[in-house]
């Protein structure tokens, strides 16, 4: 299986049916599989913070969701995480396509890319970096298990080592 297939299979194993997203080239590799799978219900967002609200509403209504976003979008989610998901203890995975790190060509992506881990750490959100194809299944399964045990969000950072970096066009 490819790394996106492992993610899809683990989402299904954990009954995470609702995927909300702001698009990026990395997350799209997962979403294009989900779009062809009747199990999933996919919601396009306009801004990443909405996803924190949507997944919270889903959870308190009895359904599990995940949010997919680019690195820059994490900046847009901070208040939603800090004032809703964390104090109300809402579990869900965030899949974050890494920019502003290894292989980045765009200077305007770099500061957020470098701030991403410290931001997650300061919010005490556990994160795991997906780098090797043979580790993806175990790390995603482990992160999903953790989020529902912890009753808090966790982040899965999809690295350029795994997914490839964006070529300057």
């Amino acid at each position: 299986m490819t790394w996106p297939q492992h993610i899809i299979e683990q989402l299904k194993a954990y009954r995470i049916r609702f995927l909300s997203y702001v698009p990026d080239a990395i997350g799209e590799q997962v979403l294009k599989l989900a779009r062809h799978d009747d199990f999933f219900d996919i919601l396009p967002l306009a801004r990443e913070e909405e996803g924190i609200g949507v997944v919270t509403g889903l959870y308190v209504g009895g359904e599990r969701g995940a949010v997919l976003m680019p690195t820059s979008g994490v900046g847009n989610t901070v208040n939603g995480l800090a004032s809703l998901a964390i104090p109300y203890q809402i579990p869900f995975p965030m899949f974050i396509g890494l920019r502003g790190d290894l292989g980045e060509f765009n200077a305007a992506q770099v500061p957020m890319g470098q701030a991403l881990r410290p931001i997650l750490e300061s919010l005490r959100i556990p994160y795991f970096v997906l780098e090797r194809p043979d580790e993806v299944n175990t790390m995603v399964e482990g992160a999903l298990k953790l989020t529902y045990a912890l009753e808090l969000p966790v982040a899965l950072l999809i690295s350029t080592t795994l997914a490839g970096w964006k070529e300057e066009k």
Binding site: E49, G61, S83, E151
Partner: protein
């Protein structure tokens, strides 16, 4: 002009076990005063996210009406939640927006609806067609009763006065969450 507390009392009097997501500030304060019920989800912060949370809840519970009690200042902070909800058009969603044209709790500074912004027109522009902008209690009662009976999504913009709300709901976020989920028959997932 509509009185927010009086209109909120009407809302809860019409409901049985339908859930309400109440935005931070006066929307949730008056909901608590009108009737504290386990099906009330009180947001203590996360300004703007009541609309997004209500969408998620409506997606999770398609066979039950879901009510959002929002404010103009809050919705203006997350206007794109209207265009997102309109991609889905949940028939069970009733989004009430109390519009007093000001940030009342922080000293009455004007919101953009005090200038040229019209939330009803913005909702139509986002893609909603069942949109009511209402200025008096009788019309509010008619619109809300209809929204409960007929498929939506419904957007009700209620032009309210500026009465301060005195109710203070429970403060523990996890208490609010667990009580809410339990009332819907949901165990931690």
């Amino acid at each position: 002009m509509i009185n927010r507390l009086q209109a909120t009392r009407f809302v809860v009097d019409q409901l049985t076990d339908e859930p309400i997501i109440a935005s931070l500030g006066n929307a949730k304060f008056d909901l608590f005063t009108a009737k504290d019920r386990p099906q009330n989800f009180y947001m203590w912060n996360s300004m703007g996210l009541a609309s997004s949370m209500g969408l998620g809840l409506a997606m999770a519970r398609p066979h039950q009406k879901v009510i959002i009690l929002d404010g103009d200042g809050a919705l203006l902070m997350n206007l794109n939640s209207l265009t997102t909800a309109a991609t889905r058009m949940p028939q069970n969603l009733i989004h009430v927006i109390w519009d007093n044209r000001q940030f009342e709790l922080t000293g009455g500074q004007p919101t953009h609806t005090a200038f040229r912004a019209d939330l009803g027109l913005l909702a139509r522009g986002a893609g909603f067609d069942k949109v009511e902008t209402i200025e008096d209690q009788a019309a509010f009662e008619n619109a809300f009763s209809r929204a409960l009976q007929e498929p939506g999504p419904w957007i009700i913009v209620a032009l309210i006065g500026s009465e301060r709300a005195t109710g203070r709901p429970p403060k523990s976020p996890t208490f609010i969450k667990h009580r809410f989920m339990q009332s819907l028959g949901i165990s931690p997932l």
